[in-house]
């Protein structure tokens, strides 16, 4: 029982990070129909930047974290401006190809600068585990979870109540109509990429604190793919719920199935689930096929 709960809690924490990274992915998809396959590299680079600031430049973690966020927002915006903007009326496939190219490019840079060795963050969070009855949680998990939840709530409020959120929803709904009311679609794209890169950095920093950083961290970009497809690709709530689901299922797989069936299953299981669910619900769990009048 304790083991099960332990697995689920780990799953919830990792899943919350998936949810956050998936959110950035979904926002870009909703705004422009582009699948950002360089999302994992945003995570990786964010994680490395913060690590470098903390470990090499000895900057206190909280400032390093904030600087990383600024860096990643700029990175996301530059990518939008230089790579995506020229493709604004191009077919979706061209955009996807461009993000694949971008992901190789960014991964290449990351390897050139930081190499392939796994590097660990200096301990940022207290290391004494927190006991809750039978369950033991390490503070880094708890803090990660809290930070993600705060981010998600902040985002929810911004999205629902701010002028920017309104513009983002309008552009996702109908680009031409959004332009007609005076929303600059280009600016919304720019901000959306900045934001997606920002949440990716948060994910990267948290994952880095949990597991350390190396090139394989970018595979989260792939893990997030089944998450968003499961959620319905254009559904924000779907991405968040599916993020948690995939995190939990992955950890249960690692805890119960891998000892029997062998390693690696954890990485494959999200794709298996997605395939099964899409057979039953082709629009994903929360996908909308347009509003129908009743």
């Amino acid at each position: 029982m304790g083991f099960l709960l332990q697995m689920i809690i780990t799953g919830v924490v990792v899943g919350s990070i998936y949810a956050l990274v998936a959110l950035g992915f979904v926002l870009i998809y909703r705004a422009s129909g582009a699948l950002n396959l360089a999302n994992g590299e945003f995570v990786l680079i964010g994680s490395y930047i913060c690590l470098t600031l903390v470990a090499v430049y000895q900057i206190p973690f909280i400032f390093a974290f904030l600087l990383t966020l600024v860096f990643n927002v700029l990175l996301g915006m530059i990518v939008e401006r230089v790579v995506l903007r020229p493709l604004i009326n191009a077919p979706t496939i061209s955009v996807i190809m461009a993000t694949i190219g971008l992901s190789s490019l960014l991964a290449g840079f990351a390897h050139m600068i930081w190499g392939y060795q796994t590097q660990s963050y200096p301990p940022v969070f207290p290391s004494t585990p927190i006991r809750m009855g039978e369950i033991i949680i390490s503070p880094v998990y708890l803090w990660s979870f809290i930070i993600v939840i705060i981010m998600l709530i902040l985002f929810g409020l911004l999205f629902k109540y701010s002028k920017l959120g309104l513009a983002m929803r309008a552009v996702a709904d109908d680009q031409m109509a959004a332009s007609s009311v005076g929303i600059s679609v280009k600016n919304v794209y720019l901000i959306t990429w900045g934001f997606a890169s920002l949440v990716a950095a948060v994910g990267g920093v948290l994952l880095g604190n949990i597991n350390g950083v190396d090139a394989t961290m970018a595979t989260i970009g792939l893990t997030v793919l089944p998450v968003v497809i499961l959620g319905g690709l254009d559904s924000i709530l779907g991405a968040i719920v599916a993020g948690f689901l995939v995190g939990i299922i992955q950890n249960l797989t690692a805890g119960y199935l891998e000892p029997i069936l062998g390693g690696g299953l954890k990485e494959v299981i999200p794709f298996i689930i997605v395939t099964l669910i899409l057979m039953i619900k082709p629009h994903g769990l929360f996908g909308k096929g347009g509003i129908e009048r009743v």
Partner: protein, 262 residues
């Protein structure tokens, strides 16, 4: 005053949509731009509002002047800020946003944010039905209600001129009459100039001061509504022409007749 001078529009560098189109919308007036499907009416409006670029269209000749300033080439958001607001064809409300959120998008470029709640009330004054629907997702509204919302979104921008693209499209005849009365009322009470594009000439002329007729991308006729309405050949050719099928032979004949007449 909005003045379009000798404008030519080409789509995808190959399709000539309108040519030599000149028209004027004086302050406070309602001007109708009539013509059958494919005549180039929407293209003319998009040339003014700057939405053309997003559709692969470009103004290849001519000028567009609003209050003595060249607006040709500006981005659509800048043009909205100048006071020109286009209600695009087919209503195009944001279906996943509520009625009130849709109205808020109309006020997107406004700097005087504190007046927005009052303006929402003003929209409800013109369209009381919308008030009851304010929390409802716009995708669930009827066509007529969506058209009211689309115009309401325009009011929220407090434009100097509203460009309306076929407000009667796909709406029950009784509601069409009501909506055109609302348009007239907005013009009188807000002093907003209006350029209304229609295939339904009858209804548009019922509120307009001046009208232009567009055929195959060219203005083939223009005049004050009184003058047009008193002309028998115009009546025969245009009032009710929306009932005919596109490509109807009679339409082509009438087109020639009109050309001689002009």
């Amino acid at each position: 005053m909005l003045r379009i001078n000798n404008v030519e529009v080409v789509y995808n560098k190959s399709i000539l949509a309108i040519r030599g189109v000149s028209l004027e919308v004086p302050d406070g007036k309602i001007v109708a731009l009539l013509g059958s499907n494919g005549a180039g009416k929407s293209t003319t409006l998009k040339a003014i509002s700057g939405l053309l670029k997003q559709e692969g269209g470009a103004i290849t000749e001519g000028t567009i002047e609003f209050e003595k300033e060249q607006i040709h080439g500006m981005d659509p958001d800048k043009i909205v800020e100048k006071g020109i607001f286009q209600c695009i064809e087919g209503r195009r409300v944001f279906t996943h946003l509520t009625v009130e959120e849709n109205l808020l998008t109309g006020a997107y470029t406004r700097k005087d944010r504190k007046n927005i709640p009052d303006d929402i009330e003003r929209v409800y004054h013109y369209f009381p039905k919308l008030k009851m629907l304010r929390k409802k997702l716009s995708g669930l509204l009827s066509g007529g209600e969506q058209q009211m919302l689309a115009i309401g979104r325009g009011i929220m921008a407090r434009p100097k001129i509203l460009l309306l693209d076929e407000p009667s499209l796909g709406i029950a005849p009784l509601l069409v009459k009501e909506i055109f009365e609302n348009i007239k009322q907005i013009n009188t009470e807000e002093g907003t100039s209006i350029l209304v594009v229609e295939q339904n000439a009858n209804i548009a002329l019922s509120i307009a001061d001046y009208a232009y007729v567009l055929e195959n991308g060219r203005i083939v006729m223009q005049g004050s509504v009184d003058k047009l309405l008193s002309d028998e050949s115009v009546k025969a050719a245009y009032l009710g022409f929306d009932k005919k099928e596109k490509g109807d032979i009679r339409e082509v004949k009438s087109y020639k007749k009109i050309k001689r007449f002009v």
